[in-house]
């Protein structure tokens, strides 16, 4: 018995999904405008970590957001609920605030038709939390649970801060969103998947608007330790701001960052009817799984190919229509080669004429937030006619031989972008985004 063949994909008339609000907070800026301006100037948001004692760690750098930026962006809701909010959810609220204000979401009449989709992983357990539990085990698998209970060992607020599904629920509560509520935990693909799933919900008529995006803050000991053990982080660099160097021959791993990005997605007629400014369009979405190895991406980038082809097919576009690829571009040896191969496989000869760049060269890798932040930067790039650069591109890698917009932003009008997000474990997502021309 084999699986039945794929049927022709039906092409029903469908609702168009546009973006009417964007918000972000990143190591480069408190807002979308600030982040984009600094990225266009080729600045790096990477520095030495200061939030915890990093002595002894082989990687002690990251894209850390100053606490003062968050304090500036907190609203009453955020301040009131702060004890139960993980840092990633405070970042999420800040990004959503900007997006909601831009989209004039407060004036939205029917909140039952407003949904939320967020990629987030909640707060990591701290090393202290994990080691604290050793007091209650005897090494033979026996637990003194009475002592755990007496000690208050699992703090109620920690419970809330660790929950991944608190992110979309928090946004729903803040904005009275009574529609579908999705919590995605697809690692680095989660933010893009949230926007893709949100787009589909609107297309299908299950809601009229969505708050969609991602948030991550894993710049703690467990976060850094985990990727250190997996040998995924950049450990050799001359300066923190030069450590993230996607597609460069001397790249040696990614740099962890924190941040959040949120878009307001809206059905086109709904947005027009209320006079919302349209910032861009989600033309297509594709996702796939590598099904290869838990620790490695497929060497030919087959999963990435499927996701990109899926997004283009969903948008009804040929390879020649793509003018820019916002690459996943993590700065790991493996990803950047396989992604280059995948882009070539999907775009064919056209790949040589397409600009490809990685925002992570400046921002680092914001994991679940990356897909959302990069979606927004792609939309801004189309609006402003600017291709953001790949900084730290000093030593060309013969295996990475596309136009990576090295080091300096480029002025170029462009209308169609593919934005890639490939998750650890082999989950891949690609958004096809379009410039909005009235």
């Amino acid at each position: 018995m084999t699986h039945p063949p794929a049927a022709a994909n039906p092409q029903p008339p469908r609702r168009r999904v546009v973006v009417t609000g964007c918000g972000m907070i990143t190591p480069l800026g408190r807002t979308t405008a600030e982040t984009f301006a600094r990225a266009a100037a080729g600045e790096s948001g990477i520095g030495y970590l200061t939030r915890f004692d990093t002595r002894g760690l082989p990687c002690a750098i990251g894209g850390q957001i100053p606490d003062s930026w968050l304090d500036d962006r907190s609203d009453d809701y955020g301040r009131r609920h702060r004890p139960q909010l993980a840092l990633c959810n405070r970042l999420l609220l800040a990004a959503a605030g900007e997006a909601a204000t831009q989209a004039r979401l407060d004036a939205l009449p029917d909140r039952a038709r407003l949904g939320v989709a967020v990629g987030a992983h909640g707060e990591n357990p701290s090393v202290d939390d994990a080691l604290f539990l050793h007091r209650f085990t005897d090494g033979q698998g026996h637990w003194d649970t009475a002592a755990i209970a007496r000690s208050g060992g699992y703090d109620f607020m920690q419970f809330y801060r660790r929950k991944s599904d608190l992110a979309p629920v928090t946004l729903a509560a803040r904005y009275g969103a009574g529609g579908p509520n999705l919590a995605l935990v697809s690692a680095c693909a989660a933010g893009a998947q949230a926007i893709g799933e949100g787009t589909r919900l609107i297309r299908e008529g299950r809601c009229d608007a969505m708050l969609a995006g991602g948030a991550e803050s894993a710049l703690d000991f467990v976060g850094i330790l985990g990727f250190t053990l997996l040998k995924a982080l950049a450990e050799r660099f001359t300066a923190p701001e030069r450590a993230s160097r996607p597609f460069d021959r001397k790249r040696c791993g990614f740099v962890m960052s924190e941040g959040a990005g949120v878009v307001v997605l809206e059905e086109l007629d709904h947005a027009r009817a209320r006079g919302a400014a349209i910032l861009g369009e989600v033309l297509g979405y594709g996702d796939s799984a590598d099904a290869y190895r838990i620790t490695d991406t497929h060497p030919a980038g087959e999963g990435a190919v499927l996701a990109m082809r899926g997004a283009m097919a969903d948008a009804g576009l040929a390879p020649e229509a793509v003018e820019y690829v916002n690459a996943h571009g993590t700065s790991t040896v493996q990803n950047d080669v396989t992604e280059t191969r995948a882009i070539k496989a999907v775009l064919g000869d056209h790949a040589r004429r397409v600009a490809v760049s990685s925002n992570k060269s400046m921002l680092g890798h914001t994991i679940a937030a990356a897909g959302a932040i990069e979606c927004i930067l792609s939309l801004e790039g189309m609006r402003r006619g600017v291709l953001l650069p790949t900084i730290n591109h000093e030593f060309p890698d013969p295996k990475c031989d596309l136009d990576y917009v090295p080091n300096v932003a480029r002025a170029r009008a462009h209308r169609v972008v593919l934005s890639n997000s490939f998750g650890f474990g082999g989950q891949n997502a690609c958004l096809c985004l379009g410039r909005w021309d009235e």
């Binding site: 029903p12 004692d53 760690l57």
Partner: protein, 418 residues
Amino acid sequence: MSERVVITGAGLVSALGGDRAATWAALGGGRSGATPVAGFDARGFACRRAAQAAVPDPAALGVSPRDAYIMGRSNLWFLQAARAALAEAGLPLVCTDGTVVGCFAALGMIDPVPDDLRTAATRSRGPDGAFDPGRFYADAYREIYPLWPLAILNNVGFCMAATSMGIRGENAVFAGGADAGAAALIEAADVVGAGRAVVALAGGAAEAITPLGLARWHHQAELCPGDGPEPACRPFHPASGGVVPGEGAAVLVLEREASARARGAGILAVVAGWGRASGAQAVARAAETALNGRTGGTPAVDLCIAHGEGAPARDAEEAAAYRRLWPGPDAAPPVAAFKGRLGHLGPAAPAADAALAVEIFRTGCLPAAWPDGAGPDAVPVLPLAAAGAGPAPRTVLLAARGWIDTAAAVALSAGVAP
């Protein structure tokens, strides 16, 4: 245009059995999966009972010891249920063309296991024997198994299952409670109906009951105290003791009706509708959407398999939602709930309920909502479906609630033989 989506396979692993047939037989026999917590001494917790599932043999699932460590028992249940569902659907356990097969999983939180950090912690002791963070940070952490981080990734269950079964199509991993499990089912139905996948797996896995996990359960639900043998969790009973945590997984195989018929697959059920909502009246609004508004006057369904977790306050809220949905003394369909027997399977609950709906469609039998001994004086807050055999329902509404103000509902219709 979306086409009709059907269920052709349904795998279920629960405290009552390692497959759907065993679980169904045990339910019919009046058994409950709830027992005193095994595997660790739970005397410190108020709730010391759970419906715990047997751990499958990784080798029998084709899983290496290394991968079994990464997956943990929760994700092994997911793989076990997925393989059972594929086998029932008559599909290969390793996809011949994985690009047309999707997978949507709802997975719970994963806790670090102290034993994984034990050597590092021991090496971090200072001269006074106390833990010295400086020693840990400087060097001792290198004693931790390098693949330990994979074991605490939220999406590792999906990734391992996809790799094991060669699934390469559309996918997502959702987090949360039963609402996440419903989201997995809904997304899979949508992807298949729209033709973006020929086959999709949809389901979830409950979190394993561990000391830390049970501590978390105490925060996220009103648990049943004690560990006695008496029936404790009695959904919609005003004197229910509360929630009993459950273990296990459930996975469904979804495909388009035409495709299933063309290859002669047995159709276990038809996905007839779905809805999701959050905030006030989420259960009623989700159900109303699932039924396309067909709720006034007479019920559009023959049976409602409620979320019914056994916490009196939450059950009363849910009952109020159904009364709002179906006003009038005889308007509501009979209601069933299985968490009193299987425990609360969290993100696996909706697919588990769907698997049981398949059996209800097939047999026309309905197990009792409560284990034996509920007492003849029980006056539920909602009219419960009478246990026993009768005319088989043709349409069933499944309801699922998240931990916080979110809900989803899925309507299923009886399938027909090929």
